[in-house]
Amino acid sequence: MAYHVKTAVFEGPLDLLLQLITRHQVEVTSLSLTDLVSEYLTHLDDMRQMDLEVTSEFLLIAATLIQLKVRRLLPDDGEVDLDEELALMEERDRLLSRLLTCVTFKDVAAVLAARLERTNRFVPRSTGLDQAITPKPVELTMPIDLAGLAALAQRVMARQVQEPDLDHLDLELPSVQSAIDELRGRIADAVDTSFEELVEHCTRKVEVAAYFLALLELARWGMVELAQEDWLSEIEVRFRGDAQVVSEWTR
């Protein structure tokens, strides 16, 4: 099973960059590019240590940031390659435009959410017509053809295979804390184990997910090391007795 997880702090490379920028905006008037680059790279390191997938998307953004930083360190004596310079500026503008688009949609999503919330309080009836009232079936025109029906069946069933859908977890995970507590006890005895062993007793997907998030949290605190050969193989869990709990920002 593949577990797609967003870490507690940010969702994806753009979101990480946005958070770094807006967080600093509160503290200082302008964020230095150097700080931004090093913080971004620190986060990628953290992700690697947790064995979270650092996608090419993260690396592309990091590469652009580094190039921008390098360009700034170069003496401005006219020795620049104009083509390279233009390409870099294009890359920079593209990143900026993506950030703006991302912020814009985040903002409008909040408005849509509020609308949805308000409208949800008006509940319709979904029971339909009385069974006694039936239309003449001959009048029915099918809005779908045979190929469409097959494609639809395929998609619905694939959706099931691709579970678990962790989308609603932030509402349904009262048990992450207790999973953490429980794991802290068990892992100390186990030394070397696997995620699969740790969740053997779980009967529901949502429990497995709770344990997974708990394990990520322990990894973030440095209490366990996680490793996985590829996304199909077992997740190995190693207990680190000497670990101290550290803040995610200071690591």
């Binding site: 009232i133 053809d145 619905v156 099931q160």
Partner: protein, 193 residues
């Protein structure tokens, strides 16, 4: 008197959304009132509905209460049943139909598990349109029904029998591969409008 109107409205709302008749005891619990208050309240709701010439009425069935349409409204509802809105199979109903076609006989529970959402109203709409029917009852608690497609379904899809349904591929490529393929052909992202 004001709060009395509130509970009357709440009672009506509950009997409106419910999918099956609600026993008095359950109404008492939800409204946090005793049966000596709730029973007259139900009678009062029925009166109010009659007084204002509503198309709805409260009826007792299967040990509980529910709102129903009045029988005088049937001629209109029959006409409505043939209207575009009533005939339109929702996306949810089509999904349910696709699954029933390939997985029949299938119970409501299995269907809901496959689709990941409650499928009650989809099944009702398909049944009402004559596209699926109950095939049997399972010997399980509550005797759940299993459903199959009908002759009308075959006719509407232009099939002689179910063996002519197009086969489903064994698997679909994972999303990441689809994305990689697609991004090769994709335009760069456009700016905010």
């Amino acid at each position: 008197m004001d709060s009395m109107m509130d509970t009357l409205g709440a009672l009506e709302a509950i009997l409106f959304v419910t999918e099956s008749p609600v026993p008095t005891a359950e109404l008492c619990e939800v409204l946090e009132l005793g049966p000596e208050v709730v029973e007259p309240l139900i009678a009062r709701l029925e009166e109010t509905l009659n007084e204002r010439g509503s198309g709805l009425t409260v009826r007792k069935a299967a040990g509980g209460w529910r709102l129903y349409t009045k029988s005088e409204a049937y001629p209109y509802l029959e006409r409505f049943a043939s209207s575009a809105t009533a005939r339109k199979l929702s996306g949810a109903a089509l999904e349910a139909l696709a699954v029933v076609a390939y997985r029949q006989p299938v119970s409501r529970g299995q269907l809901s598990e496959i689709r990941g959402v409650d499928s009650d109203s989809s099944l009702r709409s398909l049944e009402r349109n004559g596209l699926i029917e109950e095939a049997a009852r399972l010997p399980l608690p509550g005797n759940p029904a299993v459903y199959r497609t009908t002759g009308l379904f075959l006719e509407k899809m232009g099939l002689d029998d179910l063996s002519q349904l197009p086969p489903l591929a064994d698997h679909v490529p994972p999303a990441s591969i689809m994305d990689a393929l697609e991004s090769t052909f994709r335009d760069p992202v456009t700016d905010v409008d």
